[in-house]
Amino acid sequence: MTKRLLQGNQAIALAAVKAGLNFFAGYPITPASEILHELVTKKTVKVLQMEDEIASVNTIIGASLAGAKSMTATSGPGFSLMQESIGHAHMMEIPLVIVNVQRVGPSTGMPTFPAQGDIMQCKYGSHGDYFPIVFYPNSVAELYEFTFNAFNAAEESLSPVILLSDSYVGHLYETIEEADYPISKRTLAPLGTSNRHFTGLTHEDSMPVTSDPEVHKKLIKHLETKQKKVSRKYNDYEYIENKSSDILLITYGALSRAVYGLKEDFAIYRPVRIFPIVDKLKDIAKKHKEIIVMEMNTGQYANEVERLLHREVKHVSIMGGKIDLNEIWTKLRRIKKKI
């Protein structure tokens, strides 16, 4: 194993190549462009710079159907443009990896500053019901490792898997070990080998059935079951116990790196597979009287945690892309007084 100093975005690109990436289509966007820059130098990957993110995601849908392991990378604005086709890929069951290096939104926001505003967009961004697998690592080494996991989960679930990052972790330089991880093989036969019909319409045996509610219920149940089954292989989270504190801080991504500094005073839980939510959180939460979710948005994951635990969850939001331990402490103290 070799040690290397890598940037977060670069680590995703290198790991993707090792995980068998054949095809990449993307559109330049801060702070995700370095992934595109790194991949154009690789001889084993066909790289296309498309006219927009809609074209990017649709091109990799086509490439994946034709048998290539495919990926695209973007940030919030591009991710919004991709949403319709992400739902389409869920419906057609196409393995894809979509990297979203988050920046401050909504809209153009603060392009170079980190945020965690796309949590809901990952899960509910497209119309209809679908059940995405989403990973959100918080270091360069973890980005490298979870790029493999994202590709494997995509192949196993035949669905688009989201690899979340943010402009902080994406632009961070750290020394990592370039390890090799097991790679899941493609199970979907490539186009041009049969007479299947891939459609976004409700379908049964690859034929459209648009007026039978039972067929639709069966299809959505199938998608849900499949995603849950595959996600169980990736129950990734980090739990730092603290017997002297009955408060559990839940945090992830860039912000969690600052929150590590509070481990003397609080227990910390950090999900890496953020969706579907890791069930283990229910058991961990039972050990704590108070739960505070800290995130760089106005409470997107807090709502999901509350929904899972059926109990009140307090919330600290760090907005505007600046991660400041003083601000975190002040906000926590304010909550602690109420506790």
Partner: protein, 245 residues
Amino acid sequence: MTKELTYLNYLKQERLPHQWCPGCGNGIILKLSCLAMEKLNFPKKGTVMVSGIGCSGRSAGFFDLDSVHTAHGRALPVAEGIKLANEELNVMIISGDGDLFGIGGNHLLHASRRNTDITVICISNAIYGMTGGQCSPTTEISSKTLTTPRGNADTPVNVQAIVTAHNCFYARSTTFHFNHAMKCIFEALQHKGFSFVEIKSQCITNDGRRRGFKNSYEMLMSYKDNYKINNSSNKLEHNEIGIIK
């Protein structure tokens, strides 16, 4: 089975009859595509059909090939992805004018620029038929539709100019000129690089009847009267059909 009927080999016969309205041009273009593929001996395995959304978007599902029914307007990037990931495949698109020039217009501009080796057959009926008959990007000036009750005020999109601006193959024909249309598809499929065949087609249900046509036959006859074959020029006039390589 007689020799003339072998085009059925390219169709999923268990799905026939198709669900399009009586008098629709889509069935004609389905048959034309099969005949052109048959003439070229396209292997069923190794050929992929892609379509967008709309009445024409349902075409792909009728072919006895691997086929993809993409999101609205996205047939071009999906087809490009397929072709570039496996260059041995024959990749064809059948889609409508609303899909290819309206919601997917940007992709047409860039797919022709990239000159990817795919063939696009556009069923150009100048109307959004599936949604009830709204004005489309190819609707003629002053034509009355559901959304232009006082007549369309905008110029129809100049597809010829877009496609030929990047020196790609462009052909125009109509559903009346059956043999000519087949020749267009036949040559487009042989063309290396991006090829685009625009076939003017009739929608009696949601277009023709609002414009005073009694039936589909009258619409076909209007193609006969209005369009002249041009074999020599490298630019087609508004009322001409032909091939520009």
